[in-house]
Symmetry: D2
Subunit: 259 residues, 4 copies
């Protein structure tokens, strides 16, 4: 499938400060960026800090005063094999480089706390079947509710509160996968037909010999996801990290399918 994605962000910076932007569609693997444009209302010197391993693209610059950032891209997403059922678990030696860290707990995914829970409740399944069971459990036990969580909310909170948004669903799913010894990582993405449009958070699990995307909220089909950043959890994939103070003036995201 092919998509046009776009973002339009405006922030006010009282004092100059460094900004890291993870907004551009990833280029590589199962998706290719065909055409794109990144424009800023000011003309800061931009440093590219792209990551070759994941295709994640990042820029750093010094922001000051009012900055408007506009991004547009045409992206082609290949047919993805996101089938989970029956996909075997990987042994440590079968893991690709960099996967080891996605077995471990992180800021918002304290997977070490969920080991007894997953062993007790999902004992019969392994690999992709385990992931399916975990995602079904989340869908049945957690409500999608805006405004109940914030930037400090962890998967442990969401497990107790039984409510949250895409970020929280993703953190809980990652935690339960890692507690099951299945590598899982967070992915930010433009999500086709997500309503209202926003930067979406989903997860990727390593089973059946590859990383496979899944949306624990069920709101976006895997083939409708245009990947942006990849990391351990939301701490790694924020589309904008501001190393100072700024005020949000406006932000919007859009994605459309092309023919």
């Amino acid at each position: 499938m092919r998509f046009n994605v776009s973002a339009d962000l405006t922030y006010d910076f009282a004092a100059p400060c460094e900004v890291l932007l993870l907004l551009e569609a990833a280029d590589g693997g199962d998706q290719a960026v065909r055409e794109e444009r990144l424009a800023m209302s000011t003309q800061p010197r931009i440093t590219r800090l792209d990551d070759l391993e994941t295709g994640e693209r990042r820029i750093a610059f010094i922001a000051s005063d009012t900055v408007q950032i506009q991004y547009e891209a045409r992206v082609e997403v290949a047919d993805r094999d996101t089938a989970l059922a029956g996909a075997p678990a990987a042994t440590l030696e079968q893991l690709p480089p960099g996967a080891l860290r996605h077995l471990r707990p992180s800021r918002y995914c304290p997977s070490d706390r969920f080991e007894r829970f997953v062993n007790r409740e999902f004992n019969g399944s392994v690999g992709g079947d385990r992931v399916v069971a975990l995602l079904e459990w989340i869908a049945a036990h957690v409500d999608y509710v805006s405004g109940v969580s914030d930037a400090a909310t962890t998967a442990l909170d969401t497990f107790v509160d039984r409510s949250g948004v895409c970020r929280d669903f993703t953190h809980l799913a990652i935690s339960l996968c890692r507690a099951s010894q299945i590598p899982a990582r967070a992915v930010s993405a433009y999500g086709w037909q997500l309503d209202p449009p926003d930067m979406h958070a989903v997860l990727e699990v390593y089973v059946g010999g590859k990383w496979r995307l899944a949306d624990p909220t069920g709101k976006v089909r895997p083939e409708g996801l245009v990947r942006v950043a990849t990391g351990r959890d939301a701490a790694d994939i924020a589309f904008m990290s501001i190393f100072g103070q700024a005020q949000l003036i406006n932000q919007s995201f859009a994605i459309e399918q092309i023919d």
Copy 2:
């Protein structure tokens, strides 16, 4: 300086399970392994999963029954520049590959929670001077006490409880550095003259154009540290990760200087 380091571990495994071992001295950068021996009482097939970026060396194998692991190495540690005072902070574009993730919060280092604290209390200093100020604050406000913390203890806990062991001191130091926008990571190490001998946890900060080791407990001088693993926090550098159940029978570590 040159050191002989050794470790002797025995565990009982009721059922076969995967084990990841991060026990060997890192090879590369400011230290070189001159000679070494890794012996196991059983003869499992061993998979090496070494990390070229950090020199961290890892093996994975299937453990079963009683397993004794013996490791010995002769390691040469180069003169290290661990001077912090006056070392300038790095901008994002000056960071080496992989440093970005060490600016972000992690499982045991929720640095996002400490931003107001560091801004309020250490406002006057930046870069290496800031690190010096943070380490002095920790030394003045936190007691080294065994038995008050456990595997779930975070830097937030230690900040409140005002007590902990090397792991806790390291997590707090890392958190305060990252909240100060200084990359900081956890390092496990054989620590010369550490009493009692044990695997030690310290941190590394990126200031003045390089990663610089520091021991927030003040127990080991930087030149007496033989590095093993490197990661975001203790979740990444455990010397033994057991993907199943095991019982500790015995473990000991030793390090001696060779003239």
Copy 3:
């Protein structure tokens, strides 16, 4: 001093549910209610559940549809001895009935976590002098900031985050007092000259043979406080507890001095 206090609350109740209201000025001890009026737009059967020990007054009723509650009272506050400096600590046997529970940790005041901190930092002072030292520490280290805390925020959070509102300041002050073995409890009050007007949260400590009011935010002088409810922490003194779902339409509080 004499005050007119008033409150005006309107809520929408989708379904009938029980409501507990702790809104009326306490009557007894150092303040006397001279005249008052409590009116509701609906005419539910009201059950009084007043507490004779503290003078706290409570009503329970079944709310449904839109309910407007209007309260007005003329209250005389006696000269209060709120002097802390030099006030001796009480031994267990000197405590008044009901004070014991205010030595213990509670939902938002996990005082057990602060024992090492207070012993380390305030070792030289006891009784009222200790309270003065704790309040000065809070004033010097915590910023009054709206919007950084919520209904789940504990004193531990505030101690780390270094920011909060009156409720958070009060929880931290209570926690540090209890960790110092000084009974401390939460009090809701109409606060004279509080800007903007709101229901205020302060604390009371038992030193020098009596309960003494203090406002850790420094916003209201003790003689300007018209006490309402008393409890272990905010969990006990909410002016409205709704045992079901309701939507806030409007709420306002006012207090004026009468010559």
Copy 4:
């Protein structure tokens, strides 16, 4: 039923400090103390701080050096109506004095966090039937395991970790009841046939017009419980509160049925 209960405690106090002891069998309500003896190896002046509302008995004294405390009592426990099934919930106006506070969250029972969970999972039941459903859920989902919890463990931790001891089971049960708007409080008790013998923690819920005892671990039948202290959670019912430092030398508890 009639029981002999006894306790034998020895502690070392490096410096004199106040001690509060909640060790004696409660006298009143559904149990009567027929004969008892409390002996201490030193002869401190003892202050009684008994609570008439609950029959809880407390003594305070100054401890120094080595103190051995021996307690023995013969207690008669009346037939208790602990039936939960079908017992109706109480409205606020039906609550006995002091019950209101047992609807609210406390240090170890953050019941405010469990409201969505209980509403989602136990929607069909109220009153005593709700309590039965909650206790069955706990029995089915939490493992009794020693050593996984400590003095800081809350019901939220236990809900996630799915393991704990009697104190943890009790905190979780209390939290789920309060989240269901059912008053619930913690009770310490000598527990007949508890193996190994220890001071036990159970809960009491207010349904069907009275407080009813229940043991969420299922280890002791309600008629085999000799009540000691009553409070919001473990913070209130510790059998020994030491306002200073002490070292445990020995402690043991026993209970025997008398024909």
